[in-house]
């Protein structure tokens, strides 16, 4: 599904540069649910951004679904992001003047799907996250948990191969966090590959595999006993 070899990344800071990723090797298979952990500054977000094609590595190899990701033009990166990846952010990143349905339909719009079709599909995904009745509400009219579920529906809308979540529960209270995690587990059960950055131990334990980063290198990579949450949604 995803293969990374000897990945390096550094950011210029004035005259010198900060070496953030110092040779990462990672292999993720179809259907895995991986938590990337580490303290702040360990490079976990940078790694996720590179995987998400939001940032480019200085050197090393990155192969996504058999496709080498290298020297992408902006246009090509946009197409790949749209086709392969679904993003879930800590701060939801919904467009505030669009209602839930329009937000979910946005990736489909960029795929060039017809309005009627994409609205139907967006509605289907909203139903899946249990927010069909809130389809015409603006983000500010929804709670944090609801917003994150809209964001998940949006990430799923384009039927991506890989779901990337950057601290998906970071802005939520623990009850809502568990609801969201439960939903993500359910998506994983359905076969979606999920990669998640978190610094919360209990959230990480709800995944199947934990990769620990420290100072730009992987210090631990282990499969764990997944903490299951009780099924609440269908």
């Amino acid at each position: 599904m995803l293969e990374i070899h000897n990945l390096h990344k550094s950011y210029p800071i004035g005259e010198s540069s900060l070496h953030v990723l110092k040779g990462i090797d990672l292999k993720v298979d179809q259907g895995e649910m991986v938590a990337i952990m580490g303290s702040s500054g360990s490079g976990k977000s940078t790694l996720l951004n590179i995987i998400g094609m939001l940032d480019e590595a200085d050197s090393g190899e990155y192969i996504l679904d058999g496709l080498p990701i290298k020297n992408l033009t902006e246009k090509k990166a946009a197409v790949y992001r749209n086709k392969f990846l679904g993003f879930i952010f800590q701060s939801f990143n919904l467009i505030n003047y669009k209602n839930a349905l329009e937000n979910v339909a946005l990736p489909l719009y960029y795929q060039g799907m017809k309005r009627k079709e994409r609205n139907e599909l967006a509605m289907f995904h909203l139903e899946k996250v249990g927010l069909a009745n809130w389809a015409h509400h603006l983000p500010k009219e929804l709670s944090g948990g609801q917003n994150q579920r809209v964001a998940i529906a949006r990430a799923l809308a384009a039927n991506p191969k890989l779901l990337l979540a950057d601290e998906p529960t970071g802005a939520l209270d623990s009850k809502t966090s568990h609801e969201i995690m439960e939903f993500i587990q359910q998506l994983n059960d359905e076969g979606k590959t999920i990669l998640m950055v978190t610094h919360e131990e209990d959230i990480a334990n709800m995944c199947k595999r934990i990769v620990r980063l420290r100072d730009g290198v992987i210090v631990e990579d282990k499969f764990v006993e997944q903490v299951r949450l009780k099924q609440q949604y269908v």
């Binding site: 998400g52 902006e74 669009k98 990736p107 960029y110 384009a158």
Partner: protein
């Protein structure tokens, strides 16, 4: 290609940010408003200029004679040059294709009387063509005709003022007016919209005037209109050629400025043309400057908008928006705002001109207004202006890195 979804996105974005869009539109609307009003006023001034030259045919050439100021071909300086009937024919023979109407003219003054009412008026002996040169309008009866010239008939055509002075409410046609002791039959009454002085004139067949005032074939001046198909430069060179050949005909030195003088309206027309052209030029510069200020205003606000929407643009990019789609969304928004606001300015401007136009007449501004071609030109300019205003911000937006935009604040 018309992309309904793209426009829906843009309209939604404008709609959600009404104040912002209104503000950016305002500068453009104001610029176009100013431009329209200025342009309308300039048009009004031009109309006034055109009118100031009166309804006299503005392709007139008048030729006077005087005394020579230089000796030439053995002839003394101070010799009097006298035009005669044959000179009109000479001009027709030489320049027939360049002449529209031509008349010789004898100027006298006459004390006229009818049944005890008296008045002093200008008397002009003319050919029938003079009516078209002076743009007289026959109120009653007829003008002088060729038969009158041939038969030296004692008929006159009088101006409206003369009729009012001498005949009160009576109809002057068919009556006999006494000019310096000789009765003339009135065959016509004319009006002239240049005013009273031009209507206090009595016209007589030139042959009659020559016969009764001196019994000679002397002519005071020759008045003609050049072929209206001549352009300004051609008309000017026609005037020069005409002067030259008349000087030769009368053995006058070419450098003699006094013996034969020619006034060509084409010179005035040229000056008016230059004046209106420079006026238009000034107004175009002012209008253009205002428009540029408007563009800079929109551009500024669009840059601000892009900054404000950085996060949104980042999200769109993360979801698969191509740089092209980001550029078009910002560019089209800018064009839409500029075009709509500009049109509002144009409409308001035209409305203001319509409203206050009539009351500006006393300030030498007549019928101010803008032409259709200007409106079409302005529309194109606005779209181009919107594109220019939106280009930099759109470029900036397309270069936004989603990773920077999405960084948690």
């Amino acid at each position: 290609m018309f992309d309904l979804d793209l426009w829906r996105e843009i309209v939604q974005s404008i709609n959600k940010n009404r104040t912002r869009s209104l503000l950016s539109g305002f500068t453009v609307a104001f610029a176009i408003l100013l431009f329209t009003i200025l342009f309308g006023i300039a048009n009004g001034l031009q109309n006034t200029f055109k009118e100031a030259f009166g309804t006299d045919a503005n392709n007139s050439i008048v030729i006077f004679s005087g005394r020579t100021s230089k000796a030439n071909k053995g002839l003394q300086a101070g010799r009097k040059i006298q035009f005669k009937n044959e000179d009109r024919q000479f001009i027709l023979d030489e320049y027939g294709d360049k002449v529209q109407f031509i008349t010789s003219k004898v100027n006298k003054s006459a004390s006229a009387s009818y049944k005890g009412e008296k008045g002093n008026y200008e008397l002009r002996g003319v050919h029938p063509e003079y009516m078209f040169i002076e743009n007289n309008v026959i109120d009653k009866g007829r003008y002088i005709n060729q038969q009158d010239i041939d038969n030296k008939t004692k008929v006159v055509v009088i101006g409206k003022v003369v009729e009012d002075d001498l005949f009160f409410k009576e109809n002057a046609i068919g009556k006999y007016i006494n000019l310096s002791g000789i009765p003339y039959k009135i065959v016509g009454v004319f009006t002239d919209d240049e005013g009273d002085s031009e209507e206090s004139v009595i016209y007589m067949p030139i042959s009659t005037t020559q016969f009764l005032y001196g019994n000679n074939d002397f002519v005071d001046l020759i008045h003609l209109t050049y072929n209206p198909e001549l352009n300004n430069d051609q008309a000017l060179s026609f005037g020069t050629d005409l002067t030259k050949s008349l000087k030769e005909r009368f053995s006058v030195a070419q450098s003699d400025q006094r013996a034969i003088r020619l006034f060509n309206m084409a010179e005035g027309t040229k000056q008016v043309e230059i004046m209106t052209m420079s006026l238009t030029f000034i107004i175009l510069i002012i209008g253009f400057g205002t428009l540029i200020a408007g563009i800079v205003g929109v551009s500024n606000i669009m840059i601000f908008i892009v900054k404000e929407r950085t996060k949104e643009i980042g999200i769109r990019k993360a979801l698969g928006a191509s740089p092209k789609s980001i550029v078009s969304i910002i560019l089209l928004e800018s064009i839409l705002i500029t075009a709509i606001a500009g049109y509002v300015g144009l409409l308001v401007g035209v409305g203001v001109l319509e409203l206050v136009g009539p009351s500006l007449k006393e300030y030498f501004i007549k019928d101010p207004g803008v032409s259709n071609s200007l409106v079409i030109g302005a529309t194109i300019t606005l779209i181009v202006a919107g594109a220019i205003a939106g280009y930099l911000p759109a470029k900036k937006a397309s270069q936004i890195k989603p990773i920077v935009a999405l960084r948690n604040d």
